[in-house]
């Protein structure tokens, strides 16, 4: 079709416009394809490397190495294992080198240079570590005060992310890495170093699942006496002692209970006898009492009779005295003294009288003695009676008491017999408990980690995948915008050539022919740009992958050209352009020929809006804005996308800056020691805490992520929040809140993968703590929850470096290291931030320039007209470019907060694989800088379009009809 001859001319005439659009497409696709392609290259390289070097399906660590039989047994079940024991040794520049022996069949070493370490004194280093320390093959390195010759440099698939601990946020490639030595060298190291980790890698052959293997490993028997680690042995000894003490205590208790039962039995017999004796006693005392009562009743008669006899005797003596001429009278009371006085008076003069008197006195004494004796007897009988009555009552009480005692003793005896029997049971149960439950202390398995949950293996690919997804989505948005922009330009052309098109219709052209014609140029531009952009993208992969290659440890990458990316890069833009342009151009060409000939345009309702008494300039600007509403909406969309990109760039910058600053400000201790084997007595200058690592469901990825639960007490000087409350209440860091979307009052469930146990907590508060993913709870409640002793701890916090035996330490976290790692992340992301910002500014400026210029072109007639009327350049600029300012200002006001909201929502997904909560943060300065960039871009575009405005000739009005 001859009409198509104009396409090249149209392209030449509007080379700046189409060139800029092509540049945008090429640039966008270049970025998108290179980012997505980089991901594919990384994935391909890693997958290939994983396959070649037999990446593990998982790994586990144990206290005591598996026996050969156990390994064979596991292999028969479907799990091939290979020891990957390691020791952490000090390397150059205070770095830590994790030394392994050479691997045979799982996670084998991929050498980039040199050879494996075959002999003693040789080592193969991880490539980034070698590079960071400037070490080359053939040079030597001092590890733990011993010189090694570096024979090779390479990578292993299980440490593509070279982090010391699986939960570390970032790798510090200079401070920690891995090395491989020969088996004999490693054995020597093992002999020297007690701090060896018995780690195993495994591969499953399909017959066994990971969880089945874990169960098997938990059940696997092992010889606890072979635990080589002295600290572990200490723990075992303590537990064993406790176990023995418990067992011995229960035996003693059982013996005591037996004795108690025997004693209670004897007591029972005695008490029964006592009860019987008491019965007899009651009966005897009753009889005695009855006899004594009878005796008592005759006492008065007896006493009276005795007194009568004595008085009779006194009367007889008085009568004798009278006969003897003595004028004395004796009574019962004075007879002795009177007679003695008489005898004294006589004083030997009358011996016979003295004898008579003595005889009389003796008789009276005997009679008195009888009387007194009788009185004493009757008194005794009375007392005996009274006593017998009491005895009888007492015997009754004794009888009753003895019966009660007997009953009690019976009960006691029965109870003690039962106790004895129960004690037997208790003993059996305690023994069973010791055998069954205390055996868990010696589950050999320490850690079990599936490859899919191991960030050393997964984070490289997942990191790349996030970039890829973001890039692909951004690419579609930008391409749609560009396609729409192109269609806007085509519409402008159609509008401009409306009468010509009408004329062509009048001549008999049909819509299909013109549609095809008008679509050729945009489709050519898009197709050529898509091809170039995709090509550029593939060429930029090497540049784009640099950061990934510099951070993750994997072999040299191989280029791949995935078909989907070719489809995305070439076909998708064409399809989008085809769809958008077809829709828009078809609609435009559907106008009746006459309308096209008359240049009739649909007047949007907005154009007839009543602007009341607004000033002329503003009214004119608003009218112009409404007249060019399509262009302004496109401008709004384009600038919004550019601002979205800008906000994204600033957010990445702000997010990492905030992370670096918050880590430094939130973490108040200088040293955090996580202990594998805590000392019995903690250093006095350290604060004790209890740390457990659990996992939580991460909705962002649909997977899980490790969180650190830390038990602290209210006196902990490094935290100023209170942990008072219910036992299951926890305080979470803002990092955790952001990462997992937890809020105050939420019930959260954390999972212990090793024990397959769930823990439920309620979020009491959210506190600022940027580092890692921490959940805090009261240490006492935590000890209770995890079944630890009252004074248990495994974490020490301190201002100073502590003097702790290296073998006890699992990890030392220092604030300096955390900040340094965060800064490293900052450095890594810096290039991306600059690229995004540059892209956004370019997009902003190009979109604005193209659309504003197009709108000016469309208004050429009226501009020419007002020039004719006498308006000067300044006034014309005010009228036409002022309109653009409204759009730019409105876009800035709407797009910045809207973009921030969008980025806030999507950013967590983009950093979902980072073990820290990172929010899309922008400082007030960033907002100001962004507004300054927008205004500067606007000023530049304004200047350039202003020059174009000047060129619109006065005769334009004579050339064309409106």
């Amino acid at each position: 079709m001859i009409l198509n001859k104009r396409i090249i001319r149209e392209l030449k005439e509007n080379w700046a416009r189409y060139g800029a659009l092509a540049f945008l497409i090429i640039f966008s696709l270049g970025l998108v394809v290179s980012m997505a392609g980089s991901t594919d290259v990384v994935n391909y390289t890693i997958d290939k490397n994983n396959e070649k070097n037999q990446l593990e399906d998982g790994e586990f660590s144990v206290y005591v190495p598996l026996t050969e039989n156990q390994q064979q047994e596991l292999e028969k079940m479907g799990a091939r294992t290979e020891a990957a024991f390691y020791v952490d040794l000090s390397g150059p520049e205070k770095s830590v080198l994790r030394i392994f022996k050479n691997r045979n069949s799982i996670n084998t070493i991929e050498l980039e240079e040199g050879r494996l370490a075959d002999h003693r004194g040789e080592i193969v280093l991880e490539k980034h570590y070698a590079e960071k320390h400037g070490i080359r093959v053939g040079q030597s390195i001092e590890v733990d005060q011993k010189n090694y010759q570096v024979t090779g440099i390479g990578t292993v698939p299980d440490y593509s992310n070279v982090v010391q601990n699986v939960s570390d946020v970032l790798a510090d490639l200079k401070q920690f890495s891995i090395g491989f030595v020969s088996e004999s060298e490693f054995n020597q190291l093992l002999a020297e170093d007690i701090n060896v980790e018995y780690n195993y890698s495994y591969k499953l052959d399909g017959k066994l699942t990971d969880s089945e293997l874990k169960e098997k490993l938990v059940d696997l028997d092992f010889d606890k006496t072979k635990v080589a680690n002295k600290y572990m042995q200490e723990i075992i000894d303590t537990i064993e002692k406790g176990k023995n003490d418990l067992s011995g205590g229960v035996n003693d208790l059982a013996d005591g209970t037996q004795k108690l039962a025997n004693g209670a039995n004897s007591l029972k017999q005695g008490s029964n006898e006592l009860a019987e004796g008491a019965g007899s006693l009651v009966s005897g005392t009753d009889q005695l009492s009855s006899g004594l009562e009878e005796l008592t009743n005759s006492n008065t008669t007896l006493n009276q009779a005795a007194d009568d006899v004595f008085q009779g005797m006194l009367a007889q003596v008085n009568s004798e005295f009278a006969n003897m001429g003595m004028t004395v009278t004796v009574t019962g009371d004075n007879y002795s003294s009177v007679i003695d006085s008489l005898i004294k008076t006589i004083d030997g003069s009358d011996a016979n009288t003295v004898i008579v008197l003595n005889t009389m006195k003796a008789q009276l004494d005997s009679y008195k003695a009888f009387k007194d004796g009788l009185t004493a007897y009757t008194n005794g009988v009375e007392s005996a009676y009274s006593g017998s009555v009491e005895l009888s009552a007492g015997a009754d009480s004794l009888h009753q008491g003895s019966e009660a005692v007997a009953n009690g003793v019976n009960t006691l005896s029965n109870g003690s017999a039962e106790l004895n029997s129960g004690m037997g049971e208790l003993k059996n149960q305690v023994t069973n408990f010791i055998n069954e439950n205390m055996a868990y202390q010696y589950v050999n398995l320490i850690t079990f980690l599936e490859a899919g949950d191991n960030q050393r293996i997964t984070s490289c690919k997942s990191d790349a995948a996030i970039n890829k997804n973001s890039a692909l989505i951004a690419g579609v948005i930008i391409l749609t915008l560009i396609a729409y922009m192109i269609s806007v330009f085509v519409i402008h052309t159609i509008d401009k050539e409306s009468a010509v098109i009408g004329a062509l219709y009048s001549m008999g052209y049909v819509k299909k022919e013109l549609l095809k014609h008008f679509m050729i140029l945009p489709m050519l531009v898009v197709t050529a740009s898509a091809l170039l952009g995709t090509g550029l993208g593939f060429m930029l992969i090497g540049e784009n992958i640099k950061e990934n290659v510099a951070y993750y440890s994997y072999p040299g990458y191989a280029m791949v050209f995935p078909p989907y990316l070719l489809i995305y890069g070439v076909l998708l833009p064409i399809l989008i352009a085809l769809l958008v342009n077809y829709t828009v151009i078809n609609s435009k060409l559907s106008l009746a020929p006459l309308k096209l000939l008359r240049r009739e345009k649909k007047q949007h309702q907005l154009t007839s809006i009543d602007l009341k008494e607004m000033g002329f300039i503003n009214r004119y600007r608003i009218r112009q804005l409404l007249r060019e509403i399509r262009g302004n909406i496109t401008l709004f969309c384009g600038l919004s996308i550019a601002i979205l990109l800008m906000v994204f760039g600033f957010s990445i910058y702000g997010s990492i800056s905030a992370y670096v600053n918050n880590v430094a400000s939130d973490v108040e201790y200088n040293y955090l020691y996580l202990l594998k084997y805590p000392m019995e007595t903690a250093p006095t200058d350290a604060t004790k805490a209890y740390t457990e690592s659990l996992t939580a469901d991460l909705y962002l990825t649909g997977g899980e992520m490790d969180v650190t639960v830390q038990g602290i007490d209210d006196q902990n000087p490094y935290f100023d929040f209170s942990l008072d409350g219910e036992k299951n209440e926890v305080v979470i860091s803002d990092s955790v809140a952001s990462k997992f979307g937890y809020r105050v009052g939420d019930e959260i469930t954390l999972f212990d993968n090793l024990t397959d146990r769930n823990y439920n907590f309620r979020v009491k508060a959210v506190v600022n703590f940027a580092s890692g993913l921490y959940i805090f709870m009261d240490i006492k409640d935590m000890r209770e929850l995890f079944g630890q002793e009252e004074d248990y701890y495994n974490t020490l916090m301190s201002d100073q470096e502590l003097d702790i035996e290296a073998g006890r330490i699992a990890t030392v976290i220092t604030v300096d290291k955390m900040v340094a790692a965060a800064r490293q992340m900052f450095t890594m992301m810096y290039g991306l931030v600059i690229t995004i910002l540059a892209a956004s500014v370019l997009l902003f400026a190009i979109v604005m320039y193209l659309l504003v210029k197009m709108m000016i072109d469309k208004s050429a007639f009226s501009i020419s007209l007002i020039k004719v009327f006498g308006y000067n350049e300044r006034e014309i600029k005010k009228l036409y470019l002022g309109t653009t300012f409204y759009t730019v200002a409105l876009t800035t006001l709407i797009a910045i907060p809207a973009s921030k909201m969008i980025i806030n929502k999507i950013y967590p997904y983009m950093v979902s694989n980072v073990s820290a909560g990172m929010n899309a943060t922008m400082s007030p300065q960033s907002y100001l800088i962004m507004v300054a960039i927008i205004l500067s871009a606007y000023a530049i575009v304004n200047f350039m379009v202003g020059r174009h405005l000047k060129k619109i000739s006065l005769v334009e009005i004579l050339k064309e009809r409106e």
């Binding site: 009409l3 104009r6 050539e497 009048s506």
Partner: protein, 232 residues
């Protein structure tokens, strides 16, 4: 009759803006004749031309071209009708700006299987030396000649001219009119010319005057004045 127009009515708008532009127009011309449609602005002359050209619809009445009713045709059939039978010439030429003179003509050559010889046409229209120029490099008269050539290349049976001299000066207008006359004689093309220029009525076979949507005069010239002798 080659063209028969019977009682056609055409109105625009509704309610307050309702305007009846054609109020029952009937006329017709023989094949090979030139017909001038005269009348003041807004009288309905362009509307009549557009309805005959199938660019506008009618409310009632009929338009027959070679006994074929065109007012009943759908847009596709109308396109085909225009493609096969019609040539259009406009006041503002409506040339494709970034095609040369020859290419502009070729745009319509594409539409027919039996085009006229383009070089001969260029020669007839005096455009041979300008054939490689773009419209912006031509005078108004040259552009209109190019537009005429574009319309004629298909060798249409009917040529509809809407104010063909409206944008041209006297000399250029005279040249265009002479050209129209020449083409009519050479190719026997039936022509409708809508114009404000009353002088044209002397060179055409038939004159229709329209006033307020109705034909006020409709007559045939028995003696035609050559275009070169027209004065206005």
């Amino acid at each position: 009759m080659f063209i028969e127009v019977n009682d056609i009515k055409k109105s625009y708008g509704e309610g307050g803006s309702y305007v009846q532009v054609l109020k029952g127009v009937s006329t017709g011309i023989q094949k090979g004749q030139i017909c001038a449609i005269l009348g003041p602005s807004g009288s309905g002359k362009s509307t009549l031309l557009n309805t005959i050209g199938g660019l506008d619809t009618i409310d009632s009445g009929s338009i027959k071209i070679s006994d074929s009713e065109i007012s009943k045709l759908n847009p596709k059939e109308l396109s085909l009708y225009r493609r096969n039978l019609l040539g259009f010439i406009f006041q503002f030429y409506n040339l494709v700006p970034n095609l040369t003179v020859k290419e502009n003509i070729q745009v319509c050559e594409y539409l027919t299987k039996t085009p006229l010889d383009i070089n001969e046409l260029l020669e007839v229209l005096g455009l041979t030396e300008h054939q490689k120029k773009f419209p912006s490099q031509l005078s108004g008269g040259q552009q209109q000649r190019c537009a005429i050539a574009r319309a004629l290349i298909k060798n249409p049976e009917l040529l509809l001219c809407d104010e063909p001299t409206g944008a041209l000066d006297y000399q250029a207008s005279r040249e265009i009119l002479m050209l129209i006359e020449k083409i009519n004689k050479k190719y026997g093309t039936t022509m409708f010319i809508v114009t404000h220029n009353t002088a044209i009525k002397e060179m055409v076979h038939r004159v229709i005057k329209i006033k307020d949507g109705q034909i006020s005069q409709d007559y045939a010239n028995t003696v035609l004045k050559p275009a070169s002798q027209l004065e206005w």
